[in-house]
Symmetry: C2
Subunit: 353 residues, 2 copies
């Protein structure tokens, strides 16, 4: 008994060890992984209690709950500007934020591939914990499963999030109205091109860094700036890019959207990389950008609030909502031209998040 105890309570080898199937089997090895890696990194009383779930306080009177979930399978796991750990926090925090909610709690389900280095797992978990702290959320419950080598791809992380929605806030994809303004909080396409450049080992003059970031602070700044009802729709244009997000809004609201091409911010190196690869930045994923559709009279105040926030320095008004029963998104190009901006068709960039 004692020999067994002392052997099995030797600390995890977080430097040279690898994930084996026992880490997902529910026994002592899993308990050790949870205690020495997850509970330590996410340090909070909810997890430390060690039960099958976390007990949370009820939201404040008048607040509703918002929940969301995102599965993350990004490849490669580490990229300029982040990794699957930080991305898995930002993805779900941002889904809550664009619902108008204050993100509070996350859960995390890990699917690990046998043989994955524990040192990389620890790096991912630490990054996740740092991202959660920066966004002001707690990771309160988790689960770990292990699949055999060749049945997974390193690490997949599915997060779910719970937020509190203050009274009076109710942005939604169906609330855009003709005459509303369309704002974006910064330059588009950076996350997708950072992943693609890393994956294809493309060497550009300057590294393209993912914009992966938590948007909840920026969203609070917007609600501080204008009456809540002036904010019709908030979205983070992730997979499918700005083009797909705007088509979703047009479809849900039964409106058209007209964009002015020259107003849409795109960083020079993203534009160059897209041209090289034959991609349109309108379809490339973002992980730290906000699209806001708002009442026309609120546009200036919101634009100012965005630009005053560190994540919104390059914010721009990029178009207007139109009455269009066909729900088309169109873009005006430089020389008086105009073209359709359709949904993303097919897969431009698999496993971008």
């Amino acid at each position: 008994m004692n020999a067994h105890h002392s052997a099995s309570t030797r600390a995890l080898d977080l430097r040279h060890g690898r994930v084996d199937l026992s880490f997902g089997a529910g026994g002592r090895a899993m308990a050790q992984l949870v205690a020495e890696l997850f509970v330590r990194a996410f340090a909070n009383d909810y997890l430390a209690r060690g039960d099958d779930g976390a007990v949370l306080p009820a939201p404040a009177p008048g607040e509703r709950l918002v929940v969301s979930t995102d599965a993350h399978v990004v490849s490669p796991l580490f990229f300029p500007g982040g990794d699957i750990g930080s991305l898995s926090v930002h993805g779900t925090v941002n889904d809550l934020a664009v619902m108008g909610a204050r993100p509070l709690y996350l859960t995390a389900g890990f699917i690990l591939e046998e043989g994955f280095p524990l040192a990389e797992l620890a790096r991912i978990v630490d990054s996740m914990a740092a991202a959660a702290r920066a966004a002001g959320v707690h990771v309160v419950a988790g689960d770990t499963k292990v699949v055999e080598q060749g049945k997974g791809d390193g690490v997949f992380i599915t997060t779910a999030g719970i937020g509190a929605l203050p009274a009076g806030r109710d942005p939604g994809g169906a609330r855009a109205r003709p005459g509303d303004a369309v704002l974006v909080s910064g330059a588009i396409g950076e996350h997708g091109m950072a992943i693609l450049a890393q994956r294809e080992a493309l060497a550009f003059e300057s590294t393209i860094v993912s914009d992966s970031a938590p948007l909840n602070g920026l969203v609070e700044a917007l609600y501080d700036a204008v009456p809540a009802a002036a904010i019709r729709v908030l979205r983070d244009p992730t997979r499918g890019g700005l083009a797909t997000t705007l088509n979703e809004i047009a479809a849900q609201s039964g409106v058209g959207i007209e964009l002015e091409k020259k107003t849409i911010p795109v960083a020079p190196q993203v534009r160059a990389a897209c041209e090289l690869l034959g991609l349109d930045p309108l379809y490339v994923a973002n992980e730290g950008k906000l699209v806001a559709v708002c009442a026309a009279e609120a546009a200036d105040a919101l634009l100012a609030a965005m630009r005053a926030h560190p994540l919104g320095a390059q914010a721009a008004c990029i178009g207007t909502v139109t009455a269009d029963p066909q729900r088309f998104v169109q873009i005006r190009t430089g020389f008086g031209g105009r073209r359709m901006v359709d949904w993303l068709a097919g897969e431009q960039l698999p496993r971008i998040c």
Copy 2:
């Protein structure tokens, strides 16, 4: 434009189609999968709204929230008594139920392997929807990602759950006290042996059927039967089996547990299969069984309540909590003997849930 529209809005081929990478790319194909498969199967207003998250009512006054998550990687995907869809509902519903909570909402993150048959996916999603209806919960938010062939294994499903914890209920692994009784709601080891028999193509005289089931109704019956404070700990003994669950409780509460072997219910075909394979049913996973530690004076009433419920017909009192600073779980065998019941060490059965 029109040709494109009509082509891409052709219905999904749920009979012969296969998952391709575009289903995870965020564009039109993904929107179609969500609309024609997930939103249809899970039919509720939260999902139908089509936003990035679901807005839920606040819990009733005095109630706290409980959240939990489970990643599911069971192999094979279909087994006697269930499939990964129903299991992914029961796993998270049961985690909430054993916290004393009434499960209300689930989120679901799907990681699909390219090439997986849409017909099998539809069968899994329908099973998940049926399990959710039977458990009285709504699947209110979801996400789908696709990985390349050989980077996953058909379907992985991570669910997170939200429940409401009525005032006065507070079961927890740290609340067992010497003198408490240990109850189990039925025969152990059925889920694990059902999976193993299927996986190894073992032919027994009678098929072993998984006990996968939602435990929230049974838990409500227990709280109806005795004062809430008499229920110290509730757990569902999944991975690692009854032995590991009891060791967790002993460790959290700082107590010992003494079991009476002959009182622990095991179905004859599970016992036979375990003997054949050299396994101990105490370590084999369950997905529809409840362990309850309760005040001694509440044991009879709880046992009667369990036995009156369809999922508790074979409930039994299997042991008592003892004062033991070494926190050992021990079992008394038939002939006056006694042996230690340690945590599961290593991996007995990978990918059991």
